[in-house]
């Protein structure tokens, strides 16, 4: 699976709902009827601010993610992209 391009703008899919939970959050896609679990509140912060950030990298930086942790978050976002939870913004 190719990694998500951090230097592009990304949005949460319009059919996806986010429900915060003590451990992170639940994501539900009404189109695909699929659930995903975010097990990390930092990742939740990234997902929530994606749409306002010019790039995914900027959203990660704003959430305070260190450069060394970036690959882990990139993988997590790639997984979300693969299941259409997040989609690349049309440029």
């Amino acid at each position: 699976m190719p990694d998500l391009n951090l230097d592009r703008g990304w949005d949460l899919h319009p059919q996806v709902s986010v429900r915060p939970e003590p451990f992170g959050a639940l994501l539900y896609h009404f189109g695909t009827r699929k659930l995903s679990f975010l097990k990390d509140t930092t990742l939740l912060a990234v997902v929530r601010t994606l749409a306002e950030a010019p790039t995914a990298r900027a959203a990660c930086a704003a959430a305070g993610i260190a450069e060394s942790d970036l690959p882990r978050y990139q993988r997590a976002l790639s997984t979300l992209a693969k299941s259409s939870m997040v989609i690349e913004r049309a440029s």
């Binding site: 451990f23 539900y28 009404f30 189109g31 975010l38 097990k39 979300l80 299941s83």
Partner: protein
């Protein structure tokens, strides 16, 4: 309990299948409960046109106390506020409620997805056309036999034809990926490939669930629950068919055969799962309609949210549970002692093995229970079964061969039919007399799926 039909994703965007480091497992986080259920079953009515012998909710007749349309809409409003993404609507047969489609539309308008379970009685071509246009609605059609004779023995005469017609209508309307839901029994385990073929024919997805000894299911559990050998067959089949088949996480007790099956592998009762019954009572799970597992009612002050968040029962279920006798078992970490409801309704201790424990510990306990004539839990919940006896349940079932031998004739030259565990078994009492009194007392000699009779028929055969 039924849990998630969600497919897997990856580490720390966690999906049910993932089992990373033990301390990070999603299951461990879920044990303390969620702000709202992930999987909520809502039974809209006790009314049903059928009288399935294994009905979990002993449905049949409508209850005059059932929620009104306005009350049901208020419950949907609450789901929206709590962000309950979707509900599994069942019954009874939910579609016989006159306001059923109105409630489905209302839920969709309020961003609450609906998957409803039906025997197909109302799925006409017109309704199928309407369903295919909705993003928020999914349909699950029940089928408990891949052939009419196996299905109708459990679900009633004509029910196979009704379900098949409904599926055809869904297919013709272009509704892709609707669910075909099968309760696995000793009579249909040999038909798993056939069920899959039916699902493929209709562009549907197969969903297999476990027979629970709940409701009327308690009366037929001894007869219908899969044998140890069949449980193994089912496990192997599930491993081979992996993600293509849904299970609602209902077979986590089978994980003790080896690798964990896809799913959370956790009893989610009161933690991530619950049931709202037609009169608004909230139970820990759909298989536990008994006052022991009653947490409250949606009509009470604070509504459903109050029950979910603060009921004494649910808070208790979210505390760490004792594994009891199971703790020392190597497989406890994956099977977690199995299904609470299955234990409860078979009279086994809740902190011990599941009655269908694949290591055989449950069977031992069940045997002791029968020896000591322990009374099974009776419920004071109103039984909504039809008062009349269903036609068609007379006589032996389709594959309930009663093998009898005239006294004194030794079972020599066993034919290829006799591949069951009871080969050579001579009943102590001649079944001839027992047949009329107890039509289901026959020896079930259901053969494994691969075996054929010498006459060429698949499975058990009465040709000889």
């Amino acid at each position: 309990m039924t849990l998630l039909d969600a497919p897997p994703t990856s580490p720390f965007v966690l999906a049910p299948k993932d089992t990373p480091r033990k301390t990070e497992r999603l299951v461990d986080l879920f044990e303390y409960g969620l702000d709202a259920p992930i999987c909520l079953t809502w039974e809209l009515t006790y009314a049903c046109n059928l009288s399935c012998v294994h009905c979990l909710s002993s449905s049949g007749r409508r209850d005059p106390r059932e929620l009104t349309t306005a009350e049901a809409k208020a419950v949907i409003d609450e789901f929206e506020r709590m962000q309950v993404f979707y509900v599994n609507i069942g019954g009874g047969e939910p579609t016989v409620r006159p306001d059923f489609w109105e409630l489905v539309d209302y839920a969709s308008e309020h961003h609450v997805g609906v998957k409803f379970s039906t025997n197909g009685v109302k799925i006409s071509p017109e309704i199928a056309q309407r369903l295919v246009r909705s993003d928020y609605v999914d349909v699950q059609i029940s089928l408990d036999g891949a052939t009419a004779e196996v299905n109708d023995h459990v679900r009633g005469p004509g029910s196979y034809a009704t379900a098949m017609k409904a599926m055809q209508n869904m297919y013709d309307a272009g509704f892709k990926g609707f669910k075909i839901s099968v309760v696995c029994t000793s009579q249909n385990i040999s038909q798993l490939d056939d069920f899959k073929a039916i699902a493929d024919t209709f562009d549907a997805q197969l969903r297999l669930t476990r027979l629970r000894p709940s409701g009327r299911g308690a009366d037929v559990w001894d007869e219908l629950h899969p044998t140890q050998t069949q449980q193994r067959e089912l496990y192997d089949w599930l491993v081979a068919h992996g993600d293509g088949v849904l299970t609602g996480d209902s077979f986590f007790h089978l994980s003790a055969f080896g690798d964990a099956l896809p799913g959370l592998n956790l009893c989610g009762a009161g933690r991530v799962v619950c049931l709202i019954d037609p009169i608004g009572d909230v139970y820990a799970c759909p298989f536990a309609i008994h006052e022991e597992f009653l947490a409250g009612n949606v009509r009470s002050e604070g509504g459903f949210q109050e029950v979910w968040k603060h009921s004494e029962l649910f808070l208790k279920l979210r505390e760490p549970q004792s594994g009891g006798a199971c703790t020392s078992c190597t497989f406890f970490d994956t099977c977690k002692g199995g299904c609470m409801a299955a234990k409860f309704f078979t009279g086994l201790p809740l902190d011990g093995p599941d009655p269908e424990c694949v290591q055989g510990y449950g069977e031992e306990l069940l045997k002791n229970r029968k020896d000591t004539a322990v009374e099974l839990p009776k419920s004071s919940i109103v039984d909504h079964s039809h008062r009349t006896t269903r036609v068609g349940r007379e006589g032996m079932g389709p594959i309930q061969l009663t093998l009898s031998r005239r006294a004194g004739i030794a079972p020599v030259n066993a034919s290829d039919c006799e591949v069951g565990p009871l080969v050579g078994f001579t009943p102590e009492q001649p079944p001839a007399g027992a047949l009329n009194e107890s039509p289901r007392a026959g020896i079930n000699l259901l053969a494994s799926s691969k075996s054929r009779c010498v006459c060429g028929r698949k499975g058990a055969c009465s040709c000889s």
